[in-house]
Subunit: 179 residues, 2 copies
């Protein structure tokens, strides 16, 4: 499966929350602590890949590999998610193999769903507030068409303008903030 | 935790099964399919490490990192085990990161426990039949003393001679069989 998503930077989540609550179903709130790792012999900043261990507020731990961006619109990547039974073991496993932690990001994420879209209202602390609109497609050929659907939906239903698009990942934003 | 284990090569499991059944408690039988991977930029054969995905007959999947052998007697290693929710995803994750599968080994393993020891009667197909006696210790300083305990226990209680010790791992045996 391929994840297609577009992220918008917003000045406040309050207005968006009103709009989103009116049209979408709330799925809950998730506190997420994301730990990003670099590869022992590949520079993920150059290859545009990522390895992340996500610790959810409820204790669930997910290891994720994200492949390089595909397609011309939005952000489409191969994504592999593995649910694991312990955060410390997962960190220790990657460290022993030479992976090094490069950034950690905490965010509070409100999750909604409407039609084929998942909408995230993200408070990412120092990095700011963001709205992500995401969906999954079964083949790479479908990603550009789906990204255009997301653009249209976001503009018409959520009042988000293409000028608000934030093309950088949270990891990239965190790395740039550090400089 | 550090795993301390000694492995003995035996010509048949039948005689050992009688002895072991008389003194130890059976914990069950496990069918295991072990897939070993090499690191993208380290030669695990040289560094004496291993990464393994084990698929149990009941569907459980465990990813394991094994560190280099420590101590002078037996085989002591750092071992990190992570239970994951899917075999194919785990394989795909490692492959995307550049790990390559080097061998797969199927074995049928009867598991017993007595005192502080776990005893495995392993039918490893072409590789032969083996008895492993294993225990865990909390610090590296305790490993050599514990290995001597295992040697004594194996000789006195199981009738296994130090001359039967097989120092090679299943992975090393599989790699040598291939040549």
């Amino acid at each position: 499966m391929f994840e297609v998503e577009i992220k918008y930077k917003v000045s406040s989540l309050a207005d968006l929350r009103k709009v989103v609550s009116g049209i979408a179903n709330p799925l809950g709130v998730s506190e997420e602590e994301d730990h990003y790792f670099n590869h022992p012999c590949r520079d993920f900043a150059a290859t545009d890949e990522a390895v992340r261990i996500r610790l959810h507020g409820d204790g669930e731990v997910i290891i994720t590999y994200k492949g390089p961006r595909l397609g011309s619109v939005g952000k489409t990547r191969v994504e592999i998610n593995i649910k694991v039974d312990g955060f410390n073991n997962a960190v220790d496993f990657l460290r022993r193999l030479g992976f090094s932690e490069v950034a950690s990001i905490r965010k509070r994420r409100e999750i909604y769903t409407v039609d084929k879209y998942t909408i995230y209202l993200d408070d990412a602390g120092d990095l700011g507030s963001f709205v992500e609109v995401e969906t999954m497609v079964s083949s790479e050929q479908l990603t550009d068409a789906m990204a255009k659907d997301i653009l249209r939906f976001s503009e018409e239903k959520l009042g988000l303008s293409p000028s608000q698009i934030e093309p950088r990942t949270y990891l990239e934003l965190a790395m740039e903030n550090r400089r």
